[in-house]
């Protein structure tokens, strides 16, 4: 990537959840960067910590959570330790988020125009009439047909795809510098998903808005992201460009995850399943957290804690054998 300053720089982020009996480290030493206008994919399975990472950036962690270490730099400011009020000002204006289920994220008792316009009233002091006009304009821009009429609809009157478009219209109303999209198309049908992904790409192109795309779907990541961060069990296990991650994954987890997906482009005889299941924060394994499921694990993986380390060409991995694996792959090709 360029040497420009990153827009978002999460560095060594550690987050704990305190329950009655336990103190769970759900995120440990998570680092990632997003540059202006860049689409970064954050991928992982359930329990990997990808959503907690997004919530930390947005300052929307639940009350039981605590940032126990690390920093979150955004557009030159430090976000950890920022007051709720300051965070609230930032949210919506410079940074916005869309979620998986647009129905639960929209307020059922207000029209969609009111909800899209609210942020403009809040952050820019727009009058209700100005906010409404802008809302209609935004709805048309995100591809909602007959926007002037639909603007007066309530969320339940819209389909799932249209609700997600409304969420996107809300999110981009203030032209934020960063959009955090947490499984934005997971609840949608595949033909509607394709429309929403196209829309997100074109908004990025139009406004130079950076997108942190959080999903379990490697297909969506492959089609959208320029850089990819792979998480497993509360840690980043690999980071690199989309080409590096998909063509030459350095971490065994990434490699296996890609191979476990059944393709619609060719018939696969048998899938390479990863044995076992993803660990929960109550019982993250010692040593490398992936070692109980890793077919290549040796003694060192079981005993020695692994750190994310730099590899050639700007990528990084948490597997101590990655360099060797990449060299072997190069030698073999």
């Amino acid at each position: 990537m360029s040497a420009r300053e990153p827009l978002l720089k999460v560095d060594g982020l550690t987050v704990e959840f305190a329950t009655l009996r336990h103190r769970l480290k759900v995120l440990e030493d998570v680092s990632l960067t997003v540059h202006p206008g860049e689409i970064v994919g954050l991928v992982g399975e359930s329990g990997s910590g990808k959503s907690v990472t997004a919530m930390s950036v947005m300052g929307l962690l639940p009350d039981i959570a605590r940032v126990a270490g690390g920093s979150i730099g955004f557009d030159g400011a430090e976000l950890t330790g920022l007051s709720r009020k300051a965070m609230r000002e930032m949210r919506g204006r410079d940074m916005a988020m869309i979620f998986q289920e647009p129905m639960t994220s929209l307020n059922p008792v207000h029209t969609v125009s009111f909800q899209i316009g609210e942020v403009l009233v809040e952050h820019f002091g727009a009058t209700p009439a100005q906010a409404h006009a802008k809302a209609v304009e935004l709805m048309a821009a995100v591809g909602i047909p007959d926007a002037a009429r639909r603007a007066l609809d309530y969320p339940h009157q819209l389909s799932g795809g249209m609700r997600q478009r409304v969420m996107i219209a809300m999110a981009v109303a203030c032209q934020p510098k960063l959009l955090l999209a947490d499984e934005p198309t997971t609840a949608l049908d595949v033909t509607i998903q394709a429309q929403i992904l196209d829309l997100m790409r074109s908004l990025r192109d139009q406004f130079n808005m950076a997108i942190l795309m959080i999903t379990h779907d490697l297909g969506v990541i492959a089609q959208m992201a320029e850089r990819v961060v792979v998480m497993y069990a509360g840690q980043v296990v690999e980071e690199g460009t989309a080409a590096q991650i998909f063509d030459q994954p350095a971490h065994p987890y990434t490699r296996l995850l890609i191979r476990s997906i059944p393709s619609a482009r060719h018939k696969s005889a048998r899938l390479d399943a990863i044995p076992g299941s993803t660990p929960s924060a109550h019982a993250f394994p010692q040593g490398c957290r992936f070692h109980p499921r890793c077919p290549e694990a040796v003694d060192r993986c079981r005993t020695e804690t692994q750190a994310l380390h730099a590899l050639p060409e700007g990528r990084s991995s948490r597997c101590w054998r990655s360099l060797e694996a990449l060299q072997d792959a190069v030698a073999a090709s």
């Binding site: 990537m1 689409i39 399975e45 359930s46 047909p145 389909s159 799932g160 795809g161 249209m162 049908d189 595949v190 033909t191 509607i192 998903q193 394709a194 429309q195 992904l197 196209d198 790409r201 074109s202 192109d205 379990h216 779907d217 490697l218 297909g219 969506v220 990541i221 492959a222 089609q223 959208m224 320029e226 460009t241 989309a242 080409a243 998909f246 063509d247 296996l256 995850l257 890609i258 476990s260 997906i261 059944p262 393709s263 619609a264 482009r265 018939k267 696969s268 048998r270 899938l271 390479d272 399943a273 990863i274 044995p275 299941s277 993803t278 499921r293």
Partner: protein, 337 residues
């Protein structure tokens, strides 16, 4: 084809969604309309489509959890369309189901022994026999038989889906309906369950009706595939024909919309505007004409026949196989470093 195990003819299910004060039907939702297909023993037929296409209703009709409005279902040589509840109980030995959600489809108060053994006890097996069969079937699906006295919450999502499969297998059925059986699972676990289903199909000669919205999963598991749209099968073909040479414009748009986990696979997407129309008062003519990139006036008035295009290959379109416009992704081309 050898004698089919399951044969469905002109199956239709309409739900009354609104009645007038006097009880006359005002609006009906046509969930499944004129669906016909046959399944050979040992075959996997995939049913794929987006939400609201009727795939789950179709599965429930075959399981006879819903009463068909019209049409016939034959299973193993018998017409079961109007089997009574009691007659269906006898058939449960041969037709089983695996549901999507391994968290809500298992009773949390029961032990795994009771969950897997329930169908067996319904058929009068002794306690000792049940324990033996439960242990056996747990081993088949990769669970430790010594965990059979635990409750479902002690198991992970993937293990719970194995419990659901073990329960379906316990009576050694001929047909299993899998309704989004792997959709709630992480991909690494999904692959385990898909491999397991392939193994048990091989081992027991099972016939699988596999319902899913996921085209990758459908391609992987199926021998033949039916694509549904707004209650109708719009195309039915072998896995290879359907994916390599799709005839129906909807099939082609659907396949082209799948995001592949491969950065070199950026196919030319068939642009598909709009959304699926409501199945209450569906559009006249071809159900797909409102979104079809090659629709002509005829498509808006006349429902195409469900016709045999080539031996065994069915399609419901006036203009199957016609060239479609594609949508060059030039505007969204990514700058790969």
């Amino acid at each position: 084809m050898t004698a089919p195990l399951l044969e469905v003819r002109d199956l239709t299910k309409a739900f009354v969604v609104e009645r007038s004060l006097l009880g006359a039907q005002r609006a009906t939702l046509r969930a499944v309309h004129n669906v016909s297909f046959a399944m050979a023993p040992g075959e996997t037929l995939g049913i794929v489509g987006e939400s609201g296409c009727g795939k789950t209703t179709l599965g429930r009709l075959i399981l006879r959890l819903l009463e068909p409005t019209e049409g016939h279902i034959r299973f193993d040589g018998q017409d079961i369309t109007h089997f009574s509840h009691r007659q269906m109980r006898g058939l449960r030995q041969d037709i089983q189901v695996v549901f999507q959600d391994p968290f809500s489809s298992l009773n949390p108060r029961l032990t795994v022994r009771a969950i897997i053994g329930e169908p067996l006890s319904n058929f009068g097996f002794s306690a000792a026999e049940i324990t033996r069969r439960v242990g056996e079937v747990m081993e088949v699906v990769g669970l430790q038989p010594d965990t059979m006295d635990r409750n479902p919450h002690a198991f992970s999502g993937g293990q719970r889906q194995r419990i659901g499969i073990a329960r379906a297998l316990a009576l050694r059925p001929k047909l299993i309906v899998c309704d989004e059986a792997v959709s709630a699972l992480d991909v690494s676990i999904q692959a385990q369950i898909l491999n397991l289903l392939a193994d048990i199909q091989q081992e027991f000669g099972l016939t699988l009706l596999f319902i899913s919205h996921n085209l990758g999963v459908i391609r992987h598991v199926s021998h033949r595939i039916a694509v549904m749209y707004l209650g109708e099968i719009v195309e039915l073909a072998t896995e290879r024909d359907l994916f390599e040479n799709p005839l129906h414009p909807y099939t082609r748009a659907l396949i082209s919309a799948v995001p592949e986990a491969d950065i070199h696979e950026r196919t030319e997407r068939v642009p598909l505007d709009g959304e699926i129309p409501s199945p209450v008062n569906p559009p006249p003519g071809c159900p797909f004409h409102t979104r079809c990139p090659i629709a002509r006036p005829r498509c808006g008035t006349e429902l195409p026949d469900y016709r045999e295009w080539s031996p065994g290959r069915m399609v419901r379109c006036h203009f199957p196989g016609e060239a479609l416009p594609t949508f060059a992704e030039t505007a969204t081309e990514r700058a790969l470093p």
